[in-house]
C-alpha cells in the first residue's frame, strides 16, 4: 500500500528541466546557500558531507593532479549538465581540458567521474549510476570509505554498467579511460600518515 502510493506520488510530481533549474537559481527561488542537485527532474537537497568524505575528495584531487597535471581539468562538487532533466554535482569530475566558463561541462566532456559513497550507501549507486550510464558517462568510480573499497564501473549499456570491478585496500586502481592514472587504495584511505 505504501509502495503503491509512492509510485503515484512519483508520477504526479512536476519534473524540472535543467533550464528551469538554472533559472530557479538565477531568480533566487533556490537560495544561493542551498546545496541541491537535479536528478531526473527532482530537486534534491544534498546533505552536508562528513570530514572523511571531504578529506577523501581533497586527497583524490591531489593524487589526480600529481599524476595527470594540467592535461585535464578537475571539478569538485560542481554542476554537470547530464541530460535535459538531470544536473548533479558529482564529488569529482576529471574533464577534458577546455574553457567551461560559458557552459557547464556535459557528459561528453567527462573522462572520469568519481563519487564518494555516503552512509548508509544506497543513494549514489541506486539514484545516480543509472543516470550516469544513460547519459553515456564511460567510467565511474564509487569510493566506499566504510568498507575501504573502490568500485569501478565501465562499459555503459542503456541504463547500467555492464562491467563492475571491485578494488580492495591492498590493491590499486587504474583508470580505463586514462591508463596513466593509477592509484593505490592505501593512498585514498590511509589517513594516518599525512605529510
Amino acid at each position: 500500500m505504501i509502495q503503491h502510493n509512492a509510485i503515484i506520488a512519483e508520477k504526479t510530481t512536476w519534473r524540472f528541466s535543467v533550464d528551469d533549474y538554472i533559472k530557479l537559481h538565477q531568480t533566487r527561488i533556490i537560495p544561493a546557500d542551498k546545496q541541491v542537485e537535479l536528478l531526473d527532474g527532482e530537486i534534491i537537497e544534498i546533505t552536508q558531507i562528513g570530514p572523511m568524505h571531504a578529506y577523501i575528495n581533497s586527497r583524490l584531487s591531489d593524487l589526480i593532479h600529481e599524476q595527470l597535471g594540467s592535461s585535464v581539468r578537475l571539478y569538485l562538487r560542481k554542476p554537470l549538465r547530464l541530460s535535459t532533466y538531470s544536473m548533479p554535482n558529482p564529488d569529482l569530475m576529471v574533464l577534458q581540458r577546455k574553457n567551461y566558463s560559458h557552459a557547464y561541462p556535459e557528459s561528453a566532456d567527462l573522462l572520469l567521474l568519481i563519487e564518494v559513497r555516503q552512509p548508509p550507501g544506497s543513494y549514489d549507486r541506486e539514484e545516480k549510476l543509472p543516470l550516469y550510464a544513460t547519459a553515456g558517462i564511460t567510467e565511474v568510480w564509487l569510493i566506499d570509505p566504510e568498507q575501504q573499497i573502490v568500485e569501478q564501473y565501465t562499459a555503459s549499456v542503456e541504463n547500467h554498467y555492464s562491467v563492475t570491478t571491485t578494488h580492495l585496500l591492498n590493491q590499486s586502481i587504474t583508470s580505463a579511460n586514462l591508463p596513466e592514472l593509477k592509484i593505490a587504495l592505501t593512498e585514498i584511505f590511509d589517513t594516518t600518515e599525512e605529510s
Partner: protein
Amino acid sequence: MTVKSRIRFSVSDYEEMHRSGFLPEHLRVELLDGEIRKMSPIGPRHAGFVTRLERLLHKLLEDQVTIMVQNPIRLSNNSMPQPDLMLLHFREDDYEKALPVPADVYLLIEVSESSGDYDREDKLPRYAEAGIPEVWIVDTVTRTIEQYRTPSGKEYLSEKTFSAGQQLICSTLPNLAFDANIVLRA
C-alpha cells in the same frame, strides 16, 4: 545518514515560478506541501460531474455564497491546490483582491476518478490540517459521495458515504440538502 529529500517550495516561490513563466499557464499543476504536483487531465465524466454539481449548488444556494470552480486556494505557506469546487463566504469582489484562505471555506468538493488515491491520501490530510470544515469526495467510479467533517490534525473524525437515494445535508450550509442521485445519476 543520507536522506533523499526533495526541495519544498513556498506559495510565494510557486507564484514567482508562474510569473517568471517557466510554469506555463496552461499546465494543470498545484502546490501541495511544497511539491509541485501534476493534476490528472479532466475527462468528459469529470467535467460532467463538476458542471452538474455547479448547477445544483447555484440552484440551492443562490447568492448566499461564492462558488469557485477549479481555482486555487491559499491553503498554507506551502500548499496552493485547485479543488474542483469551493463554496466560500460571500464576497462582493468575488475574491478579486486575494485568493481564498481556509477560513473562507464552507465546503470543498473534489470529483475523483483516476486521481482517487491522490485526493484521499495526499489532499484530504492537508485540507484537514488547514481546518477546512467539510470536504466531499464525489467518486465517479463507485458513484458515491464521501462526506468528511470535523477536522482534527491531519484527519476528519466523521466520514460518511452516500449512494443514490440517500439524503445528503451539508453541515455548514443546511440549505444544501438533496438526494445524492441528483449528482450521481446511478
